[in-house]
Symmetry: C2
């Protein structure tokens, strides 16, 4: 296949070794963790901000689509080069994080793996709580672009609560630095937070300043089993209503547990499982875990294991983290949803999911971050079965409406990307959608940054 | 004076009782807590979102400046009607907050007083931690518009960490709803967070959905006295460096303490004071307070009172909260600054302030939120002395440069408004400033919302 004319200019900017047009690379960079696929024309791997700026300036001048990419673990299609053009991979921008222990912040390059950052910090008694299930692979740039979170969102919030400042190459190829290194700053508009979760449509993140916390000295895991998923969901809501604040409340239903068991090849007891973790001082963990256990047993008939030994804790977390890969073995087509409702509506959402599953004849496994009201109902289907695909689309659309009816949002943490584009207008008012489009047009007038995502133009 | 021609239209929208053009009202709405003054042409007090939308639509059609106003306690001139026109006061939009205890959020109208919200929540065992010194008067709409914070910013962050969703009338008079009622949401750009701290320049906030927390069961106050303000600042930095996380570390220097003593008419012991508060369970408070006390005594020679009785705690907080009004009695001209540096640079910043004070011959009292690196150096001068005014301007400019040199920000929590306009460009890169201007122009093409603030056009 012929190469785009601008490839030689990219080689001048980056050197030949960092510009890829071979078939194998192009295929590797054409997908993420969703079912979407699109081939880039060229993949580049810059090593510093200046190279990124020169690439984007070229793209601006020649109106070439640019898709930023971290580790490609995204779950809404954010890193798929929907309109071809250039994929800029952050993978070589991964120098060791600069930890400022005395000021509780760290400066990180976008290609640093989330779990690596956490390990560097933990070695100094510090803590970065954001823990996506893909943390062993995903990178900080992608986390910021998608506003990633994970189980600990319940107590610790999401990526946007930790971003203090950003260096970004904007859609004209200009380097901008926004935010601060201080925990408080109100100097002009909060562009840093606007960029968090903007899915690569407003710029390429080249450096991130993150707030970090002291590492909690202790953790305590409770594993509670229930016969019924609705009961488990009601119990999760009750924990919050009783003003207990665990770091984590995860839920797994029967289908998820069965899939995970066979994926990891080990038995987990329990039909439906809640994993509840407290952190802080030993005394707080004891006190809160004991209150929580009382509530789960007495009010919800849960069987609670409050002395989960380290091996079993590892097993339970392994099962929980492998939920998605495990379910991809159950059917050849899998769609992971991200519906999020106010926490008291969790059981109601699960019931609606069950009704939708029955009505559309689509199997749905349910797991997720119950403590945030953030569920990942996972729809299982046969990829080559047209009838399945049609019913799948119907079931997804109905699930979106159901979570909005319950006062929720169509995406808690995965983003809009390609996957939720048809539904964004359902959630936003017309004026809200227009404001976002307006903003995109004014900051990216040539629509080169991750075009074809989030909005229908 | 003749009334603007649009006043009759405002009376049609709001009824005559809610439209004010009398001299007394216009004077009352021409100032805030800064030294700036500007008269509006008319003041309106809408009671609901629809009225606000109709007022702003009229202003859009006739290109009339609109200045949103909460309680007028702002410290950067945000609510001063710099270009005249209409002041929209939120004071009548103050229905009782709708508390959703089971989901840990509350829906609040903009005119609700911050302290009233806190009391409503505390009665239900809930907690909204944002605590500006003016909390007995300031209102939630203003808090959101300015991204207010206060002593507890150290542990609990600022207003932006609590805003889940907003209803806003945009500069075209359209009602938009952004954000969510869930703790996680990534449906499109984070317009809600962009509006937090946008100082009324992008719309008028008509409803706020705030995340709330369980009320911490216990609090423990330590009062530590030092001979020297630099020593106290070093001690504050060391608390953070040692990964203790109090809810509050406040600092007051000798001049502030003396002024506060004579203002409240009671003696406080101590030359320089650190107020350190821990919250959480009793056990955590005990443990952390004891570690902190050891550190302050042994490493910094502080005299620490760890059993502050409730009366003394009330006295100390009264002294701290009255710092600004107390200092306004010391000189007839007072400028309160808001410089914020990474926490390890606190002592360095205080030393720079002392040098600037000496070099310019301007007395400066220092107090503030040491735990955040957020200082409020307060410059005292004679308003009618031209020479004083000239030296004042020089001292302020040098203070801005000093905090930026230390990696800080020119405003931690008060905003840009009129007061920091000359310095915003010092902090932002040219590209960053342009992005903000670009954004303002695209969202408010007729520049009617709080014009003449933040940016030089």
């Amino acid at each position: 296949m012929s190469q785009p004319s601008y490839v030689s200019k990219l080689r001048e900017i980056l050197g030949g070794d960092h510009v890829f047009t071979d078939e194998e690379t192009l295929v590797c960079y054409s997908f993420d963790a969703t079912r979407y696929r699109a081939r880039p024309d060229v993949v580049v791997k810059p090593t510093d901000t200046e190279q990124v700026a020169r690439v984007i300036k070229l793209a601006y001048e020649e109106s070439i689509p640019v898709t930023p990419r971290g580790a490609g673990t995204g779950l809404s299609g954010g890193s798929i080069p929907a309109r071809g053009g250039i994929v800029i991979s952050a993978e070589l921008m991964n120098h060791k994080p600069q930890i400022h222990k005395e000021d509780l912040y760290v400066i990180v390059e976008p290609g640093v793996v989330t779990e690596d950052l956490q390990k560097h910090l933990e070695a100094k008694g510090l803590f970065y709580p954001i823990d996506p299930a893909s943390q062993a692979a995903c990178t900080i740039g992608g986390n910021v672009a998608e506003c990633a979170s994970g189980p600990r969102g319940l107590k610790y919030g999401t990526t946007r609560n930790y971003v203090l400042g950003l260096e970004v190459v904007d859609p004209n190829g200009k380097v901008i630095r926004v935010g601060a290194r201080t925990v408080k700053s109100v100097a002009g508009y909060d562009i840093a937070r606007l960029l968090v979760g903007s899915e690569g449509t407003l710029g390429f993140i080249t450096s991130v300043t993150l707030k970090v916390l002291p590492l909690p000295p202790a953790r305590r895991l409770l594993a509670a089993t229930f016969d019924d998923v609705t009961k488990a969901a009601e119990a999760a809501s009750a924990i919050i209503e009783n003003r207990l604040l665990p770091s984590v409340i995860e839920i797994m239903d029967r289908m998820t547990i069965e899939a995970s068991q066979s994926y990891i090849g080990k038995r987990i007891d329990g039909v439906v499982l809640l994993l509840i973790e407290f952190d802080g001082s030993e005394a707080v963990c004891d006190e809160e875990a004991s209150k929580c256990m009382g509530l789960l047993k007495e009010d919800f008939g849960g069987a609670v294991d409050d002395r989960v030994d380290p091996d079993r804790a590892t097993l339970l977390w392994e099962a929980r983290r492998s939920a998605l890969p495990a379910l991809t073995r159950v059917a050849n087509g899998v769609v992971l949803e991200d519906v999020t409702v106010p926490r008291s509506r969790l059981a109601a959402m699960i019931e609606k999911i069950q009704v939708i599953s029955r009505n559309y004849g689509i199997r749905v496994a349910v797991f997720g971050h119950a403590g945030d009201g953030n569920l990942h109902p996972t729809l299982l289907f046969e990829r080559k079965n047209r009838d399945d695909l049609k019913r799948l689309e119907g079931a997804i659309a109905e699930m979106m409406r159901a979570c909005l009816d319950l006062g929720g949002t169509i995406s808690g943490e995965h983003g809009i990307g390609l996957d939720k584009m048809p539904f964004l207008k359902l959630e936003l008012s017309k004026a809200g959608y227009e404001i976002m489009m307006n903003l995109k047009r004014s900051l990216d007038p040539r629509n080169i940054m991750n075009p074809g995502k989030m909005f229908y133009e």
